[in-house]
C-alpha cells in the first residue's frame, strides 16, 4: 500500500538518482590497466621518526577535515615485559609531530596507521548498498556519491581508520591516493615521508622491491587474528601494538 509518507520519501531519492544517471561517464585515466596492479604498503617501524609529515601531507592532498584522520601516527611506550598494556598517545593524530615524552626507559617507537586495504575487508562486506568496495587493483574505496551515511562500515573496521565526513555526511578513509597511484605517482604520505618508513607497494608488479623485501624481512599485519587480509605490512611491529 503506497502511503503518502512513502511517496514523499521516494520522490527526492528518485531525483537524486536521476542526477548521476544523466551526468555521463567521467574520463578514463590513460595507460593504467587496473588488473595489472594489486596495491599495498610497507611501513618500517625502525625508520619512523614521528615527524607527522604523512598526516599533514595526506590532509593537504585529500582535503581531510580537522579532527579527522585518513592516516595518523601513534607513539608507544612499553615498560617492562607487559605486552597488553602499552602507553599510547597520538596528539591530534601526530599531525604536528609529538611533544617530548614523559616516559623513561622501556621500549618506545612510533606506529603510523592507515586503512589496510584488506583483501577480505569487513567494511565492504557490511555496506548495505555497495558504496564502499574493493577495486580490481586492490584498493578499498568509498563512492561518496552513493554513500548513505549509515556508518555501518565505520563500525565494522577493526582498525578505526574510517570516519564520517562532517560536511559531506558520507563515510571517508584513506583511498591510497587512488588519484595519484593510477598516474604513476606515489601516495602523498610516502612522497612526504623523509625516512622512507612508508613505501607504496604493488604486489602484482614483479619488479616492485616489496617481493624481495617480504622474502628477507620479518613482517606483521595489524590484528592478524581477525583474518582481514590486511595489505599494509609492518616491519618490526612489536607485539604490544593494538
Amino acid at each position: 500500500m503506497i502511503t503518502r509518507r512513502k511517496l514523499l520519501m521516494l520522490l527526492p531519492a528518485a531525483a537524486m538518482a536521476w542526477e548521476y544517471v544523466a551526468a555521463g561517464t567521467p574520463e578514463i585515466s590513460p595507460n593504467y590497466s587496473r588488473p595489472e596492479h594489486w596495491w599495498g604498503m610497507l611501513v618500517d617501524i625502525d625508520k619512523c621518526i614521528g615527524c607527522g609529515n604523512c598526516v599533514r601531507a595526506c590532509a593537504a592532498e585529500n582535503s581531510v577535515p580537522d579532527g579527522y584522520f585518513r592516516t595518523w601516527v601513534e607513539r608507544y611506550h612499553v615498560a617492562g615485559w607487559q605486552q597488553e598494556t602499552p602507553q599510547v598517545d597520538s596528539p591530534n593524530g601526530g599531525k604536528n609531530g609529538f611533544p617530548p615524552s614523559k616516559a623513561v626507559g622501556g621500549k618506545n617507537f612510533f606506529v603510523p596507521k592507515m586503512c589496510n586495504h584488506c583483501e577480505d575487508s569487513p567494511c565492504t562486506q557490511v555496506c548495505p548498498v555497495g558504496a564502499t568496495f574493493r577495486s580490481i587493483d586492490g584498493v578499498v574505496l568509498v563512492d561518496e556519491k552513493y554513500c548513505l551515511g549509515c556508518r555501518y562500515c565505520i563500525q565494522a573496521c577493526p582498525y578505526g581508520c574510517r570516519f564520517l565526513h562532517p560536511a559531506k555526511h558520507t563515510a571517508e578513509k584513506c583511498s591510497l591516493c587512488y588519484h595519484r597511484i593510477t598516474k604513476g605517482l606515489t601516495t602523498a604520505c610516502c612522497e612526504s615521508c623523509p625516512t622512507g618508513a612508508r613505501q607504496l607497494a604493488d604486489l602484482k608488479n614483479p619488479k616492485d622491491p616489496i617481493h624481495e623485501y617480504l622474502k628477507t624481512h620479518s613482517v606483521q599485519v595489524l590484528k592478524p587474528h581477525l583474518a582481514t587480509g590486511a595489505k599494509v605490512y609492518y616491519h618490526d611491529l612489536d607485539g604490544s601494538v593494538r
Binding site: 557490511v126 548498498v129 563500525q155 581477525l226
Partner: protein, 399 residues
C-alpha cells in the same frame, strides 16, 4: 578531551546515536507484541484473547514509526532508496528494506485487515460522511461478509499469523545479527546476539501490550480481565527466564574466557555502564520482575496487589529493555578497539539525533495507536473485554 586513556583518533566521536538505540527498541516491541497476539491465534491460549486485536494494533503503530529513527540518522536519507535498488547481499543491513516491507504488507496489514474486514464492511455501511469514505477505502472494495467469506478470512488469517511468527523473528533477529556479526567489536560480536535480541524483544513486546491493555481498561473504566493478565504475566515470566539465562551465559562466558577485550569491557561495565547495565537492565529491569512474577506464581496474591505488581513490573521491564539496547549500542562504542581507553557519549538535547527527537519518536507510536483504536476499535461496545470472533477450529471443537 572526553577521552580516558587512548582511543584511535577517529573513534572518539560516537557513530551510532540514541536513535540507533530507539530503532531496535521499537522493532523489538513490534515483534514482541505480534508474538503475544500469535499466542492466541496459533497456540490457542484462549486466556489472552482480550489482548489479541490490541496487540496487533500496537505492533502496527510501532512498525509505522520504526523507519523514522533510521531516516533521521542517515547522512543522506534521500539516498535510502538505494537499499531497495542495489542491496548488497553480504550486508545484514540491506535486508532491512525488504524485511520491513514484507512484515508491514504481508503480515501486519494483511492480518489486521482480515481480522477487521467484517467490522470494516459493517462500518462502511452504517457510518456517514468522511468516515464512510474511510471505511469504504479500507474495505478495499470487498463487501461480502457471508459466513463462508468470514471462514476464508479466518483460514487465511491463520496462515498469515503462522508466517508472521518467523517473520517477526526475522524483523528483529536481523538487527541482532547486524551487531552480532561485527568481528571488529567484541562487545557485539557473538552468535548469541540475534537470540538475545529476539527474547528481549518478546519480553518488551509482551510488557507493552500488558501495560497498554491495563491502561486502556482503566481509561474506559472497565474491569481488567484478571485471567488474561495473569496468563500474560506467566508468559512474560517464561520468556524472561530464557532471556536472563542467555544474558548470564554471555556474561559468564566472557568472564571465564577473559580474552583480550575482557579487561577493557569489564572496566567499562563497572564505571560508565554501571548504572544502565547493572542497576537498570539487570537488577531493576530483569531480576525484580522475575522475582515478583515468580512470587505470584507460587504464593496467593490478592487481585489488587497483582495488578499493581504487573503494572510496576511492566514499566520496569520496558525501561530495562531500553537500557539493554542502550548498553549494546552505546556501550559498544564507548571503549576503544585498542582496548586502551574510553570516550564519552555527548547526547544533545536539541539536535537531529538528540534527546527530544528520541523522546518524540517514542511517544509518536502511542498517538498513532490512539488513532488506530478509534478507527478500528479492538473492543465491542456491548462487551467488557476485547473479543475476536472464535476461530473455525474452536467452533469445530465445541461442536
Amino acid at each position: 578531551m572526553p577521552v580516558d586513556g587512548f582511543m584511535y583518533p577517529n573513534e572518539i566521536e560516537l557513530q551510532w546515536s540514541v536513535l540507533i538505540v530507539v530503532y531496535p527498541f521499537i522493532t523489538g516491541l513490534v515483534a514482541g507484541a505480534f508474538i503475544l497476539a500469535s499466542l492466541e491465534r496459533i497456540f490457542h491460549v484462549a486466556a489472552v484473547k482480550p489482548t489479541y486485536r490490541l496487540a496487533l494494533l500496537t505492533a502496527l503503530a510501532f512498525l509505522l514509526v520504526a523507519p523514522l529513527p533510521l531516516q533521521l540518522h542517515l547522512g543522506h536519507p534521500e539516498r535510502s532508496l538505494e537499499m531497495y535498488l542495489t542491496p548488497h547481499k553480504t550486508s545484514a543491513m540491506a535486508m532491512f528494506g525488504f524485511v520491513y516491507l514484507w512484515y508491514l504488507m504481508a503480515v501486519i496489514l494483511l492480518e489486521i485487515w482480515l481480522d477487521y474486514r467484517h467490522e470494516i464492511v459493517l462500518f462502511s455501511q452504517s457510518t456517514t460522511g468522511w468516515k464512510r469514505l474511510l471505511y469504504r477505502a479500507l474495505s478495499l472494495g470487498s463487501s461480502n461478509i457471508s459466513e463462508g467469506s468470514l471462514r476464508v478470512d479466518d483460514r487465511v488469517g491463520w496462515v498469515v499469523t503462522l508466517i508472521g511468527i518467523p517473520s517477526a523473528f526475522l524483523l528483529h533477529g536481523y538487527v541482532g545479527f547486524i551487531f552480532g556479526s561485527v568481528k571488529a567489536n567484541p562487545w557485539w560480536s557473538s552468535p548469541l546476539m540475534p537470540v538475545v535480541f529476539i527474547f528481549s524483544a518478546m519480553v518488551s513486546g509482551i510488557s507493552i501490550v500488558l501495560l497498554i491493555y491495563m491502561a486502556a481498561m482503566k481509561l474506559r473504566r472497565q474491569s481488567i480481565d484478571m485471567r488474561c493478565v495473569d496468563t500474560i504475566a506467566q508468559y512474560l515470566l517464561y520468556t524472561f527466564i530464557i532471556d536472563f539465562a542467555l544474558e548470564m551465559l554471555d556474561l559468564i562466558h566472557r568472564i571465564y574466557e577473559a580474552d583480550e577485550s575482557f579487561r577493557s569491557l569489564d572496566f567499562m561495565l563497572h564505571t560508565q555502564l554501571f548504572f544502565s547495565q547493572v542497576v537498570l537492565q539487570i537488577v531493576l529491569g530483569t531480576v525484580i520482575p522475575i522475582l515478583t512474577i515468580g512470587f505470584i506464581q507460587i504464593f496467593d496474591v490478592p487481585e489488587k496487589l497483582r495488578r499493581m505488581a504487573y503494572a510496576v513490573c511492566g514499566c520496569l521491564t520496558i525501561v530495562g529493555i531500553f537500557a539493554m539496547r542502550w548498553n549494546v549500542v552505546i556501550g559498544g562504542q564507548l571503549f576503544s578497539k585498542s582496548f586502551l581507553g574510553y570516550t564519552t557519549y555527548k547526547l544533545d538535547l536539541i539536535s537531529r539525533e538528540g534527546e527530544l527527537v528520541a523522546a518524540a519518536l517514542l511517544i509518536l507510536p502511542f498517538i498513532i495507536l490512539a488513532v488506530l483504536v478509534k478507527i478500528l476499535p479492538p473492543w465491542t461496545e456491548s462487551q467488557a473485554g476485547f473479543v475476536r470472533e472464535p476461530s473455525v477450529c474452536e467452533l469445530g471443537k465445541e461442536a
